[in-house]
């Protein structure tokens, strides 16, 4: 079975769009980009053997992590033996002891295998970790005055106190400093580390105050006020350096779109196909309709992640027979990304469910601030009596309909208190605005009355 060129091109484009670094590696390297600023910062603290810290702030999906990873990749090539990276994620390691353990382990690995592994590999698995320790040059440990056994015990003993662990981290940091190795500590989801007592951050930053250590702390957060969350003692130990990441500008985007979507000329793909594909692509990108589509997308969300999702969706609907992108692909992708889930669910509601929603809305209009199924039923009966609607359903059927509405989150219970009460007595509230309800009623085909 021969692969056809369209399929091969599709795989190539999809892998390009799924790679989180793709967008940023294409950005030009001028001196005022975040990339070059960050790179300068880290490389200078490596060469000058000093401590440093920086916060990378910006909304989600603007490439904070991606840019950092690109920087670190470059630096690991430039200074192969002088740098080691420790990554902590707030979602995973915000628990103090857990994070310290991770840090201890990776510090040990750095020491043991500076020649074996450039990047501190995260071998949390105890057995592979043991092997690493075995490989350790015992001399370094003797110089530290700690036996291998005690280290292993310390790390995996759950009872090892926080203080013990902190002490150990400090001594390890000093060791690394003496060996002229810079440790880059990346704290992803920085704001989560700032919850609670911040002991971890404090002990880490305090350890960095000593002259002998050599470390760069990089905090990544989507909260712009991340540094305001810190206690005073922590904040004063952190440099006030911040890098702000913004969604890409329109000009930047336009330049990059072509790079992102065009096929490489010197590849295994047939030459004629590549030329044809790229020609069509340029035609689409210049089209006014395409620009309108882009505008509707960017007006709601212009982060890099959203753009990549958009491009991925457009590419994945490519017609496999021709293997050429068309403007229709892009239009459909925008529709799929800009959805209105509440309206979609409203459209699927049955007539009885709509009745109940309308009843609830009427109760809200009457400024009745708290109502439950029984009051809704009263209203339903009132509507039924005044409008002489032909169908009137039994109470338990209506209760079932209400439960369905709760299931699709168009309606919810007011509080979680009434667990010991049956559903018909718990107060409920509407989760959609009257406007949305009106739109939904208009769009619902099975609705008999407006």
């Amino acid at each position: 079975m021969e692969k056809n060129p369209a399929e091969e091109a599709l795989i190539l484009l999809r892998s390009r769009l799924c790679d989180p670094h793709a967008f940023f590696s294409l950005l030009p390297s001028s001196s005022d980009t975040n990339f070059s600023k960050l790179k300068f910062l880290i490389s200078s603290s490596i060469t000058e053997a000093c401590n440093n810290s920086v916060l990378l702030l910006g909304p989600r999906g603007c490439g904070k992590t991606a840019v950092l990873e690109l920087v670190l990749r470059d630096l690991l090539v430039e200074y192969p033996d002088m740098i080691s990276v420790i990554k902590l994620n707030g979602l995973l390691h915000s628990d103090d002891n857990c994070a310290l353990k991770v840090r201890l382990k990776s510090l040990l690995i750095i020491k043991s295998s500076s020649t074996l592994q450039q990047m501190a590999a995260f071998e949390f698995n105890f057995f592979s970790f043991l092997l690493d320790v075995m490989r350790l040059n015992t001399k370094t440990f003797q110089s530290l005055g700690i036996g291998v056994r005690t280290i292993i015990k310390k790390i995996d003993c759950a009872q090892a106190s926080f203080d013990d662990n902190t002490q150990f981290v400090i001594s390890m940091l000093r060791e690394c400093g003496l060996a002229h190795k810079t440790i880059v500590i990346v704290l992803d989801e920085f704001d989560i580390f700032a919850q609670g007592k911040q002991r971890l951050l404090y002990s880490l930053l305090d350890a960095m105050q000593s002259v002998t250590s050599q470390a760069v702390v990089i905090g990544i957060s989507c909260r712009l006020d991340a540094d305001q969350l810190l206690e005073k003692r922590v904040r004063s130990r952190l440099s006030q350096r911040k890098l702000l990441f913004c969604p890409p500008s329109k000009d930047e985007l336009e330049r990059l779109l072509e790079f992102l979507l065009s096929l490489p000329v010197n590849s295994s793909l047939p030459q004629s196909y590549v030329v044809e594909f790229n020609k069509e692509l340029r035609k689409i990108l210049a089209d006014k309709k395409f620009k309108d589509t882009m505008n509707t997308l960017l007006s709601s969300d212009s982060t890099v992640d959203q753009i990549m999702r958009f491009l991925f969706l457009s590419v994945s609907t490519m017609d496999m027979k021709t293997g050429i992108l068309s403007i229709e692909n892009f239009k459909r992708a925008v529709v799929r990304l800009n959805r209105q889930p509440k309206l979609e669910y409203l459209k699927d509601c049955s007539v009885l469910e709509l009745y109940i929603l309308v009843c609830m809305k009427r109760l809200e209009v009457k400024e009745q601030n708290s109502y439950n199924f029984n009051s809704v039923m009263k209203e339903y009966k009132a509507i039924h009596d005044s409008f002489q609607t032909p169908d009137y359903y039994a109470r338990n059927v209506c209760l079932r309909a209400l439960e369905h509405l709760i299931q699709c989150e168009l309606v919810c219970f007011m509080d979680n208190k009434g667990y010991n009460q049956s559903n018909e007595f718990r107060p409920v509230k509407l989760l959609i605005s009257p406007y949305e309800l009106q739109l939904g009623l208009k769009e619902n085909q099975s609705c008999p009355v407006s």
């Binding site: 799924c18 979602l91 949390f124 959805r339 669910y345 049955s350 079932r400 369905h404």
Partner: protein
């Protein structure tokens, strides 16, 4: 019905089949059985090797053509990476069955875990790890998981390790195959993780780290060979946390339209004309199929009746027969409309009816649900007393149960109507909102005493004074039913507003 239901029923069971594989693995395979990567494919899990064509796939899901093509487009050709996909839609819109069937068609490896059967992070994590490590919990290993994994941080490492090792096997396989000749056996070197019933994750932890963690899993793993699919009953906009998270690509499965439903029930050979009136109440296939079943039997009744002669030879006669069948059915439609939920809502009903919380009547309530009123007479009286105590105002007890009984009832009512209507309305509103009231044990026993004085004397309740209050959440119908079984005139003692 019988065998006519097969196409539908085989699909409906897929969910339970696959999840049964995950959680309560049966030791059906011998010990010598060596698990391979082929276990990740649908067909080898369930033991059918039938090849499924795209046409079969689409025709077995009427009204879902666009969704199937969209999912297929998103999954892409063999060996192409994908962004995480988030499929949402109401109950019984075919999310799970379509995804599983698509993977059966594509023959690609996947790991399925449902957040219903894996009801805590630990169980979910361990279930995924077990599947990736070809580990089956059995008697020999004491039903232990392959690794103990409680925290997301441990899971992130373990799952990466496990995925890498599986991917290595897959890569080795496809390399071997491509060196000879590409065959249909090629599994590709992607593996997919499917999380079903994802909306339940929202309730797992208050600090809400698991949810952003699972959404961000794709980025955290950094493995382009791993595809992640979430299935959820609720739309993505209700997942928002205050710090946001990595967003997957949304895909909506809309409810079936009337036309689609007609096709679905035609697959089951049921009568399509019925649909429209039921659609006003619900659009859920599972509920409808329950509702249609007795109707269909009714519809076929005349056919089985030897007395009536139906002939299907000519077209005109067929029309005629149809009309006769339908007219036979019509009177049954209306009543069944209001009984639509008899079976499917049984669990919900049971939940609401069981007397919960403070009442000692809790056990009574539950028992009486299961046994269908097979309880002793005094227990029944106690239940009725509880019901009355919680529905009637305490001040009216004396007037209801005094020597004149029913006669005094009318007098009381007149008094009530003399009150200003506004005040009455207010009280009524309050009652609607409040639900059943609470009552102390003495009152329950007092009423019980009044109902059936021979069983319990009042003195026994004295030491309980000042203790917790009780309430009955027994529905009125139930109370009336019980009362009828005892020939107790409950309506005379119930305070009506």
């Amino acid at each position: 019905m019988g065998n006519e239901e097969i196409p539908q029923s085989s699909r409906r069971t897929t969910r339970s089949l696959v999840s049964a594989d995950n959680c309560s693995e049966k030791p059906r395979k011998s010990i010598s059985y060596k698990p391979t990567v082929y276990d990740f494919i649908y067909s080898s899990r369930n033991g059918d090797d039938k090849n499924l064509s795209l046409d079969d796939l689409i025709s077995s899901f009427p009204g879902r053509t666009t969704q199937i093509t969209e999912v297929l487009g998103h999954l892409g050709p063999l060996n192409s990476p994908m962004l995480p996909l988030f499929i949402y839609g109401g109950t019984s819109t075919g999310k799970t069955s379509i995804i599983l069937e698509i993977f059966r068609y594509l023959k690609r490896p996947f790991v399925y875990s449902s957040c219903v059967s894996c009801y805590s992070p630990r169980i979910l994590f361990e279930s995924i790890l077990n599947q990736l490590a070809f580990h089956k919990r059995s008697e020999e290993n004491g039903y232990l998981s392959v690794k103990k994994c409680d925290k997301p941080s441990d899971f992130a490492n373990f799952v990466k390790e496990a995925l890498v090792s599986v991917l290595d096997i897959l890569k080795g396989k496809s390399a071997k195959l491509s060196s000879k000749r590409r065959s249909t056996d090629d599994l590709g070197n992607m593996i997919y993780l499917i999380f079903d019933d994802f909306e339940l994750v929202r309730e797992w932890d208050k600090s809400s780290t698991v949810l952003p963690f699972l959404f961000g899993l794709y980025r955290m793993l950094g493995l382009p060979e791993v595809g992640i699919i979430f299935l959820s009953k609720v739309s993505p906009d209700v997942y928002y946390s205050n710090s946001g998270h990595f967003e997957p690509v949304p895909l909506y499965f809309p409810g079936y339209t009337e036309k689609d439903l007609r096709q679905i029930f035609m697959l089951k050979r049921e009568k399509p004309e019925l649909n429209s009136c039921f659609l006003e109440v619900t659009r859920q296939v599972d509920e409808l199929s329950v509702a249609f079943h007795p109707l269909y039997e009714k519809y076929c009744e005349p056919l089985n009746d030897p007395g009536s002669n139906f002939s299907w030879e000519t077209k005109q006669k067929r029309e005629d027969a149809k009309r006769r069948l339908f007219s036979h059915l019509v009177p049954h439609i209306r009543p069944s409309l209001n009984e639509v939920f008899k079976i499917s809502s049984l669990d919900v009903e049971a939940k609401t009816n069981v007397v919960k919380g403070k009442a000692s009547a809790k056990k009574l309530g539950a028992q009486e649900e299961e046994l269908d009123f097979h309880m002793c007479v005094s227990a029944k009286y106690l239940l009725i007393s509880a019901f009355l105590a919680s529905r009637n105002p305490a001040t009216l007890d004396a007037s209801f149960f005094d020597s004149t009984g029913g006669q005094s009832n009318g007098r009381k009512k007149r008094k009530c109507s003399e009150k200003s209507t506004e005040q009455k309305e207010m009280a009524e509103q309050e009652l609607l909102l409040k639900g059943p009231g609470t009552f102390p044990l003495e009152r329950l026993l007092a009423i019980f005493h009044l109902c059936n004085a021979n069983f319990v004397s009042k003195g026994s309740s004295c030491p309980l004074e000042g203790s917790t209050r009780y309430k009955s959440t027994v529905s009125e119908e139930l109370a009336v039913k019980i009362a009828r079984s005892l020939k107790f005139p409950i309506s005379r003692y119930l305070y009506r507003r």
